[in-house]
């Protein structure tokens, strides 16, 4: 790689530039905290951190500013894999290595490392979880499912939906009584999820399970069920199964309280720390140990598993991030 030469930076301290897509969701805060924690472990690293507030153009501007500051490395959490490409190439031209987190840049080896959770798998496992719970209830995979999608046009929203929809279609082939009664975009917005779910509950009195694009959607769904007096504890035949994705503090709390069945947890804290570790390694010339792409593991957290040693080992980032 042509730009690798710049690693011969003689400085004894390196500035790392971080651009996260947004801070409007705990997940990205976990990511920022993870990077900060990682940087703190390495005395030779300093951090400039920015948030793009969800706007691709803002992110491009901020990264350009970071490049002009001659940072030693960039950790990017792109809003969009394609729109980040020009500025990543710009960084490459200036010899600045790029590390991507959670979402990559759609230009292959323009990034040293791309660390992400497998969103398609998350969606798929969500569908599987629902199937499993329904099977427990009815003896066979049947029932009425609601899909509260995430924000359209975001990678997380779209890929999870893709994974969920594909797996549901597969399940439906074998289990014709498994029905998708409604699919609505709740935009990762708890209040929107609340309003949609309230209306769906009024329209359907036989909803068995809700798949949520993320934990905020799930919070809205849970509250709507409570308001509509349709809550029944887990195990009750009238219980509405709630599964979502992320593992925020609020989701962990809801699982512990038995309001929610499970969340497919990611871990932005450990994932981000790992990214910083790769940056550190790279800046010290150790490139061999850095994979080009890596899926960071995720873990299904339910009432049974949430306080298990395995969960502890995986890391309950939601609990840690607010501390």
């Amino acid at each position: 790689l042509a730009w690798a030469a710049s690693a011969a930076h003689a400085a004894d301290s390196y500035t790392v530039g971080l651009s996260v897509a947004t801070l409007a969701n705990p997940f990205f805060q976990g990511m920022t905290k993870g990077v900060q924690a990682g940087i703190a472990q390495h005395p030779d690293l300093k951090l400039i951190n920015t948030s793009a507030n969800g706007d691709a153009n803002t992110q491009t501007n901020q990264v350009t500013d970071l490049i002009n500051q001659h940072v030693a490395a960039l950790i990017l959490n792109p809003i969009n894999a394609n729109s980040i490409v020009p500025v990543v190439k710009e960084a490459n031209k200036k010899g600045i290595p790029v590390f991507t987190l959670d979402r990559g840049a759609a230009c292959g080896d323009c990034q040293v490392n791309f660390l992400e959770t497998d969103n398609v798998a998350l969606g798929k496992e969500g569908a599987d979880f629902i199937a499993e719970q329904l099977k427990k209830r009815y003896g066979s995979v049947k029932g009425n499912v609601v899909d509260l999608e995430g924000l359209l046009g975001t990678t997380a929203g779209d890929e999870r939906e893709q994974g969920f929809a594909a797996e549901l279609a597969v399940l439906q082939k074998d289990n014709p009584d498994l029905k998708l009664v409604a699919k609505q975009a709740a935009d990762f917005d708890a209040d929107k999820a609340f309003n949609i779910m309230t209306q769906l509950l009024a329209a359907h009195n036989d909803i068995d399970a809700v798949f949520n694009g993320n934990d905020d959607n799930a919070v809205g769904a849970i509250r709507a069920i409570r308001q509509a007096n349709r809550f029944a504890p887990i195990g009750d035949p009238k219980h509405i199964v709630i599964i979502s994705i992320d593992g925020t503090e609020q989701a962990l709390s809801a699982i512990r309280k038995g309001q929610m069945d499970g969340t497919l947890s990611q871990n932005p804290l450990t994932m981000a720390k790992q990214s910083v570790a790769y940056v550190e390694a790279y800046l010290h010339g150790d490139k061999a140990s850095i994979p080009a792409h890596q899926f960071w593991p995720h873990m299904l957290l339910t009432k049974e598993t949430i306080d298990s040693p395995a969960a502890k080992a995986y890391g309950l980032w939601g609990d840690e991030v607010s501390q």
């Binding site: 801070l23 409007a24 969701n25 705990p26 805060q29 999608e149 359209l152 409604a182 699919k183 609505q184 975009a185 917005d189 708890a190 209040d191 609340f194 309003n195 949609i196 309230t198 209306q199 769906l200 509950l201 009024a202 329209a203 359907h204 905020d216 919070v219 809205g220 509250r223 409570r226 308001q227 509509a228 007096n229 925020t248 503090e249 609020q250 709390s253 991030v321 607010s322």
Partner: protein
């Protein structure tokens, strides 16, 4: 000077203004009824009491906020800050609750901070003579920023039930939030239509200079109007936090535009002097109906925004065609 002179006999337009107004609201009512009938016929679950209550519940937050916005718009102003203020007051009330402050005080805190933020806008608009659009745009950004700063971006959650019931409880079959919204509409409707203060609000919006020379306390009226809007946004923040048992700094983004749309669909003019709480109620319910219809009919999410835009357009179009037909 013959004193027996009479003015020409009033012909057919005695009380024309109120008739005109009624027709105006009639159009919205007709639109409202048309949408309802369509949904009732095409969607079996529409006319269930559970569904109708769910529309009221879904409309309660935007309704509370739109009432405050109505006061502001009738004076010819605008308050873009309400969405951010909902978020900021929600997290402040949430932080207070998490610090074990009693529920009533936390509620008052939320409403009070909203009122303060409205007071800030009022000060800038009246004393500093700044344009409401830009002041409230600045407060939109500042309140949102503060919401992130005080929470460090975190979600605040797990509140006492007494608090959650404000947004998420029921009294009999009725959602508490909808009852609160109903009370807000009723009181605001009476205040705007029946009181001296209401008349002053209209006068200030109709012609500020003339109102001032007529002895109306323009500055005070404007100030109160923005404080009402802020306080109701604060109440909205409390209701939302209670409903979700959590408060997020990112909540209610863009709520202001929906609230303004509701007020305008309800017949208010952004130039001031025109508008009513009843109109706003209809505007809010029309938006609620449409969202409900889109959900019930399981319309593809991609289409939702487009249809909402088209409906706003249609509602205002009908209103303006009506005005044209009447030769307004």
């Amino acid at each position: 000077m013959a004193s027996g002179q009479t003015s020409p006999a009033p012909k057919r337009n005695f009380g024309l203004s109120s008739v005109t107004r009624a027709i105006n609201e009639l159009t919205i009512v007709v639109g409202f009824v048309a949408i309802s009938v369509y949904l009732a016929i095409t969607t079996p679950s529409f006319l269930t009491s559970a569904n109708l209550l769910s529309i009221l519940l879904a409309s309660s937050l935007i309704g509370i906020v739109a009432v405050g916005e109505t006061f502001v718009i009738v004076t010819g102003g605008i308050d873009l800050s309400v969405g951010s203020v909902v978020a900021f007051t929600g997290v402040m009330a949430g932080l207070a609750l998490n610090a074990h402050i009693p529920v009533p005080i936390a509620v008052l805190l939320g409403v009070g901070i909203g009122a303060l933020s409205g007071g800030f806008i009022a000060f800038a608009v009246t004393t500093l003579n700044m344009a409401p659009f830009i002041v409230s745009l600045a407060v939109l950004a500042m309140a949102r920023g503060l919401a992130f700063i005080v929470t460090n971006g975190n979600t605040i959650f797990s509140f006492p039930d007494a608090f959650d019931n404000i947004g998420g409880g029921n009294i009999g079959p009725f959602p508490v939030a909808a009852l609160i919204a109903a009370a807000v509409f009723l009181i605001a409707g009476l205040v705007l239509a029946r009181t001296v203060f209401g008349a002053e609000v209209y006068a200030v919006g109709g012609n500020r200079d003339a109102a001032r020379l007529a002895g109306i306390p323009v500055t005070r009226t404007l100030a109160i109007v923005y404080i009402i809007s802020g306080a109701l946004a604060g109440l909205g923040g409390v209701v939302l936090a209670g409903r979700l048992d959590s408060a997020q700094p990112i909540a209610a983004v863009g709520l202001e535009l929906n609230a303004i749309a509701a007020v305008v669909i309800g017949g208010a003019s952004l130039f001031g002097g025109k508008g009513s709480i009843l109109g706003t109620l209809l505007g809010v319910l029309i938006i609620g109906l449409i969202n409900n219809g889109l959900t019930l009919k399981n319309v593809q999410p991609f289409w939702v925004q487009f249809i909402q835009g088209a409906v706003i357009f249609g509602a205002v179009l009908i209103d303006s065609l009506n005005q044209k037909r009447r030769g307004g």
